[in-house]
Symmetry: C2
DNA sequence: GCAAAAGTGTTACGTCTACACCCATGT
DNA sequence: ACATGGGTGTAGACGTAACACTTTTGC
C-alpha cells in the first residue's frame, strides 16, 4: 500500500550548512565559525542554520549566509543532503549543504575582525563538528566539477582581475599547476573576457593588464550552444 | 545571534522520490506509479515515500524502492533536494531525489503486470505531478554526468552483455550516436571487461560474444589512480 | 644593472574521429 | 545464396602539452 496520509508521517529538523569558499593570496580559503551554543560549543563548524517554514532551501541558505556574514548576492549552489541518524547528537537533524563563492578582498575586510568567524586555509583548517569535514570534502569535489563546466571561478575574484590571478585561482581549486601560456590561450579561445586598459600594479613593477568577465557575452554564447569546458 | 535552541525550530515533512531508470529494447525507460491517494490521485508520479525517524535518506530510498518494486541491491545515488513552498499542495514537503538503475530484463518481468506501476519510454512519458518533471530532468542530467566518470552503466544491463548492448546503452543515456569501432576500442583500452566464451544468439545469426564487467579489476585500478572517463 | 613578474608562438605528441570491408550463420 | 548483425584497423584532424626568451620598471 502506498503511504496515504501526510499527517501520520514523521517530521524532522532541516538544517542548511554553507561551505563558504574564498580566495586570497593564491590560496583557497574557507570561512568557519566557532559555535557559541551546545552541543559542541566552542568547536569549529560550518556556518549553518535551520530551515524555516516560510522559506525554501535556496532562500534559507542565502539568509543564513547573510545573517552571519552580512553578504548579499553571493553565488551559491546546493551540494548534498546528509542524514545519518546520529550526525547531530542533540537531535535528529537532516542537513542540506550549499557551497558559496566569495571575493574576500572586496567584501570581507571587516569580517576578519568579527569574533567567532574566521577564514582558514583550505589546506589547514581545524577539525570540524559532526560530519562537517565530509561536507567540506564533498563541496570541494562539487566545486571542482562545476568549475570545469561553468565559468563560476570569477565569483571568487574581484570584478577586475589579472590573468595570473585567474590562473592561480584555477590552480588552487584544481590543486594542480598550469602552464601560463596554455592557460591564457585556452581562456582567450573562449572569448569571454574583456581586456581593460588599466593595469594592476600591486604584484609587479611592470604591471599586469586587468580583465573582466563578460557575463552577457557568455549568456549569448550559451544560447548559441556554447559549452564552457576547461 | 546564532540560533541556539533546536526545539524552537520548525520541522518539516521529508519525502524521498526515486527516478528509476531502466533499459529495454535499446531505449531508456522510467518507472512511474499512478497515485492511489489524494492529492492528485490517479495522476502519474515518481515512486516516493516519506523519511521515517529511524532511517537515513539512503535507507529510506532503498526501502521505498523495495516496497513498490520488490527489488533489492539496486544502485542508487542522491541527486538533489526540492523545497519550493508550494511544490506539494497538500502540505509543505521537502523532497530528496535519488536515481536508481535497474536491469529490467533480469528483475522486472512481472513488475510490468502489476497494476499502478508502469515502465515508460523516457522520450514519451505522461505529465507528472508537482515538480516531478523537473526531478526527472535533473536526474537525467546527473546520470549523464555520472556515467561519463564512473562505470555505472552496467547496472542497467544483465550481468552478461554484448558490446553492442553496451554501446546502445551509452547512446541512449547520452542521446547521441556512437561509432561502434571507436566505442569498442575506447572501452577495451580501459581493460575492465572480461570477454566470455559464450555468445548471445538472440539478436543475430552469427551471435555476439558476451562480456562481464570486472568490478574487482576496476577497484584495483582506481586505487592505482585510474580514472574512468568516457 | 639587476631582480621579478608580464607577456607572447610554435612544435611534438597523443587522442579522437571518420570510415569500409569481411565473417559467420540461419533461413 | 543472401540477408543480417558481428567484428576488426588505419589515416587524418584536432586539441593538448611542452617549452624559452624578451619586456618593463622599481630598486
Amino acid at each position: 500500500m502506498v503511504l496515504n496520509n501526510y499527517r501520520k508521517e514523521d517530521k524532522v529538523l532541516l538544517a542548511v550548512d554553507c561551505i563558504i569558499f574564498g580566495f586570497y593570496q593564491e590560496e583557497l580559503k574557507i570561512l568557519l565559525v566557532q559555535r557559541d551554543f551546545e552541543p559542541a560549543k566552542g568547536e569549529w563548524s560550518l556556518i549553518g542554520g535551520f530551515l524555516k517554514k516560510e522559506e525554501d532551501l535556496d532562500i534559507a541558505a542565502t539568509r543564513i549566509l547573510n545573517h552571519l556574514t552580512g553578504l548579499n548576492n553571493v553565488y551559491m549552489e546546493q551540494v548534498h543532503s546528509y542524514s545519518k541518524l546520529d550526525r547531530d547528537p542533540e537531535e535528529r537533524t537532516i542537513s542540506v549543504t550549499y557551497f558559496a563563492l566569495i571575493d574576500i578582498a572586496h567584501h570581507c575586510k571587516d569580517l576578519l575582525k568579527q569574533n567567532p568567524i574566521k577564514w582558514f586555509d583550505l589546506k589547514d583548517f581545524p577539525e570540524l563538528i559532526f560530519d562537517h569535514n565530509d561536507m567540506v570534502q564533498d563541496a570541494l569535489t562539487s566545486l571542482r566539477n562545476r568549475v570545469g563546466t561553468k565559468p563560476i571561478g570569477f565569483e571568487l575574484l574581484p570584478e577586475k582581475f589579472t590573468m595570473r590571478q585567474l590562473q592561480k585561482l584555477y590552480e588552487a581549486i584544481l590543486d594542480t599547476e598550469l602552464d601560463k601560456r596554455n592557460f591564457i590561450n585556452k581562456f582567450n579561445s573562449f572569448d569571454l573576457l574583456t581586456k581593460l586598459k588599466e593595469k594592476d600594479m600591486s604584484s609587479s613593477k611592470k604591471g599586469a593588464f586587468l580583465f573582466e568577465f563578460d557575463e552577457d557575452k557568455y549568456q549569448k554564447k550559451v544560447e548559441e550552444g556554447f559549452c564552457f569546458k576547461i
